[in-house]
Symmetry: C2
Subunit: 113 residues, 2 copies
DNA sequence: GTAGAGTGCTATGATTTGTCAAGCGATTGG
DNA sequence: CCAATCGCTTGACAAATCATAGCACTCTAC
């Protein structure tokens, strides 16, 4: 069992709190999960994620790139061809996705709503 | 290493997708994390979470109760005294929080913004 | 006895966040 | 030549969240 020391009472920088704030933004976890099986282009990712509009997706990947979780590679500007891939930090989030995966299969077997 | 079979291409019910949708709602993970070290009352939880306004918090805990993740116990109506505790399913989310914990300590050591 | 702080929320209106539909310049496929 | 695809951007809109105030009451302190 991990240490899980809860610093979150004082005003000090708390990485866990920060991480939760990153991951709770809409679509973020979906994006990461879909990139776990290889890099994708913008529209490809958009289709994989399903239901996220381009404006939000653009904003989200930009932020994730800024955080060092995603890496954007432009192969050619015209015709436009880009690919988004997980960095090392991004790949490491697989553990989180796996934890969610295990939890959901155990407790979410039946449709919820 | 978990199976991680990605069903998310067809329209079938996907528990992982569903779980992500639950966990990405604002404050949800903060609430769960703060309840990991014992049940709390409404205002107590509000203070622990920090920064969530009561309307949102009320809505969130209600949803989590509905999902079977939290359990609400009313000890007395007047003076009002309630407590929110994690159910078995809620406790099981500790694994997810721990995964986030490990990730954040490894990749989020320095302040981000 | 009475002021002050605490309980669990709900109501208000402002602000932030996410959404929708459309479209751009350019190339590729029929 | 016409439609489709690429990676986005724009601007108008809706939905979620925000800060703040308050209610009905009790409990402690003075």
């Amino acid at each position: 069992m991990a240490n899980l020391s809860h610093d979150h009472g004082d005003h000090a920088f708390c990485p866990v709190h920060e991480a939760i704030n990153i991951l709770q933004e809409k679509w973020t976890l979906h994006i990461i999960r879909n990139l776990l099986d290889g890099p994708k282009g913008f529209n490809e990712l958009s289709r994989a994620v399903g239901g996220c509009n381009p404006a939000t997706l653009a904003q989200r990947v930009e932020k994730l790139v800024g955080l060092g979780i995603l890496e954007k590679t432009v192969h050619s500007t015209m015709p436009p061809r880009t690919s988004y891939a997980l960095t090392e930090a991004g790949q490491a989030l697989q553990e989180v996705v796996e934890a969610i995966d295990r939890w959901s299969r155990r407790f979410l077997k039946e449709p919820v709503a």
